[in-house]
Symmetry: C2
Subunit: 452 residues, 2 copies
């Protein structure tokens, strides 16, 4: 029996799902509504386009509309915005380029992603031309055009998360006088304070001006300037990028009966079903679970979106796949400093009621005598004193050293103890690691912490 599947959102989660449904159920009708002009682009690459190391914005596209429509047989509709969902009637209200209409589905996937939040900052005027956010391709094009046409000199990034870090790198690399305006003296609390300190120090050394402990209250565009008003006076820039986080794009679901959770993200079970079993959600609009605490979590990152889309698609097509949740693994860099995290911060672990202890150490990431051997990697490790397991890890070091966060993510996710980790047979050669890899060292030092 053929079914009609509607997918709201034409990016990572939505298109992964659409492709799986068509792979498994080629006869089913799969309609994707995308409210913007672009689908299937690598949003995580946008900072690097602004930086100038991705040549063409079209390089960021993964699959063309042509491939999606003609090869994958997906009924892709651009500039179609879903305004409301009626689960009882299995209907949507859709705003097409020409009218509003209803559409019926048998199965629905909500994959609308996230949108920037600008909390506690008044924008004056709201749609000012020199105040930017960066969430989608349109945002990026607008910012890029501005940089080329107006040739600004002095800018600020407001925020303390990954996008802020990456955009500071990008603007600095373009030769701009680049300020970080942030309400705290540390970056986002997803970073351990020690890691935050290392990143800020690296930024300072690289030439970023750090305007810390300065909460922006109002941004006002005046002529060719943006005035940032803070409690301690005003700062003036040629333009400002606001990167203070995102929230799920789920406003259109209010009153639909679909249960929302953390920050308004759609609540789903492990099969990615909402409270209506024929309605699924995946990606940055969907809530997930911490595999460590079992608590709800909101983590709008690409690997989750892609994997959830893949799994939701298989389940929509009749499969039985589960997504267990996330470990809060993330990685980025500022200039040549790699930064990575997995699991809980010490503070987060303590708040979850775990008997967490944190220890930090600096170690080599290559053999001492090998070129680069004097560039250290800094590790902040959180362990559970109760059972000797890893709860969290954060790394800052040479860019080629911090992908070992994946190993910590695995130790955390699979509940591997310090004792077991010390006995892992990890790879050694002078160009790649010291003979005791930093992960082995973390286990060895953690054993001492357990005894203390």
């Amino acid at each position: 029996m053929s079914r009609t599947v509607i997918i709201i959102g034409g990016n990572a989660a939505g298109l992964s799902a659409a492709s799986q449904v068509k792979r498994l159920q080629p006869e089913w009708e799969v309609i994707v509504y995308e409210k913007g002009s672009y689908v299937s682009y690598a949003a995580c690459g946008m900072p690097y386009f602004i930086e100038g190391i991705v040549n063409k914005f079209t390089d960021l596209f993964e699959l063309s509309p042509d491939t999606l429509i003609n090869e994958r047989k997906i009924d892709l509709r651009l500039h179609h915005e879903v305004l409301a969902v009626n689960p009882e009637r299995k209907e949507l209200l859709v705003k097409t380029p020409v009218k509003e209409e209803t559409a019926s589905f048998d199965l629905l996937l909500i994959a609308t992603g996230a949108q920037p939040v600008v909390e506690g900052i008044r924008l004056n005027p709201a749609g000012a031309g020199r105040i930017f956010t960066l969430k989608n391709m349109e945002d990026m094009q607008e910012l890029s055009a501005f940089l080329h046409e107006k040739k600004p000199h002095r800018c600020a990034v407001i925020g303390g998360g990954y996008i802020a870090v990456e955009m500071l790198e990008a603007f600095l690399a373009r030769g701009l006088e680049t300020h970080l305006v942030h309400r705290r003296d540390q970056l986002a609390n997803t970073f351990e304070p020690e890691i935050s300190k290392l990143i800020l120090e690296k930024m300072r050394q690289s030439g970023i001006v750090l305007d810390l402990n300065r909460a922006a209250q109002e941004l006002t565009e005046e002529g060719e300037k943006v005035i940032v008003r803070t409690a301690d006076g005003e700062l003036v820039f040629d333009f400002v990028l606001v990167a203070t986080g995102v929230r799920p794009q789920t406003d259109f679901l209010e009153g639909s009966g679909i249960t929302l959770g953390l920050k308004g993200a759609v609540a789903v079970n492990k099969r990615l079903q909402t409270n209506y079993p024929f309605i699924f959600a995946a990606g940055d609009c969907a809530q997930t679970t911490s595999v460590i605490t079992g608590q709800p979590a909101y983590v709008p990152l690409a690997p989750k979106a892609n994997k959830e889309g893949y799994i939701a698609g298989i389940n929509i097509a009749g499969g039985q796949e589960e997504f267990p949740g996330i470990c809060e693994t993330a990685i980025t860099k500022f200039a040549d400093l790699g930064i990575a995290r997995a699991g809980l911060t010490a503070e987060g672990a303590q708040k979850s009621g775990l008997k967490a202890i944190k220890y930090t150490f600096s170690s080599r990431s290559k053999a001492r005598y090998y070129p680069g051997g004097n560039e250290n990697i800094f590790s902040a490790i959180v362990i559970d004193k109760g059972n000797g397991r890893f709860l969290g890890a954060q790394l800052a070091g040479p860019t080629d050293s911090v992908k070992r966060i994946d190993l910590y993510a695995t130790l955390i996710q699979k509940g591997i103890t310090l004792e077991e980790a010390f006995r892992l047979d990890l790879a050694y050669a002078p160009p790649f690691a010291p003979v005791y890899d930093p992960v082995i060292l973390a286990a060895r030092l953690g054993r001492k912490e357990m005894e203390a």
Copy 2:
């Protein structure tokens, strides 16, 4: 009650153990006999000294004799060779620089390491000045002095293992016409054929002359040349490095009653005790166990030696630590090609009676559009079709991509299934990985292999 601990061998395993014994039992007497002139050096760094990227040979030293003797209070005796062990009498026969003498111990650690094997090749004369091996500091100094004084132009490396690969890189980087003379058309069978092919191709492109399928039968020094005689005629070089493997340095234990195993390595239990519970063995002279098959294994690599020394030292001092064995994890590089392995080859797994299947794939190691995104990583994966677990993995790709072998080693060692691995929350950002990390991709592809 004070004890006398004797340790035979002053390198990774021996000195790790000595340090632990003195840390835990500061009053005990710890004597280390080292037959050579040097202790505590990074043997794995020797190829990079020859290559010229480690400046001084003294950079390779970890702890000075002074530190060992005066700070760690270890009774270190250079140029002391142990000729025989008598477990019943708890005595050794030692050749000192001036005489032979007996020495008594309460506890003994055998940590004599390995020595090069030159199997099936006659050396003519035996101690020729242009035929080299590279196992210890004296070998390295001899080779280094030769290169500086004789300024040779054309050389050959005989062998197909890690040292061969690293020394080919070293000689080539020094501007020598460098040949690989090898008896097979593939490198050592520790490499999957597909990986071996990629390495050989990289060598060829880099300018190494590949003399494959040429088993050297006799090396003869004639004037300023070395003649390599093979079944297909002779090859002539200015010098030759023989890197055809190593074997445990345990000849002096013959007839002692201490049980030897694979290749003559000392057989030990998980506490690293020999058949005499007061005699321990650790490092390249000691047999270990494959954590995958449970079978005896001989793997003379530095992480094992260091960790075994550490654990043996704790146990000698009265502790209760176990070393579970190895996963055959190893890493190296040739020029800018990183090479890594963990676990079993497909052939090895099949020989062990496992229902092993192998699949290979090439994938990005960074985001497609990020600089370097077109440099692929090649993966050869072996899984157990019976239980969906990883048995082996081999990687060849950019040097900053192959340390993810540690993740495979962990999956293999801890018996994590493909299904579980697909759900690991691994780190993604464009400079570090594609959104589906190659490890996640391996799990995803492996799921299909399981169904096939």
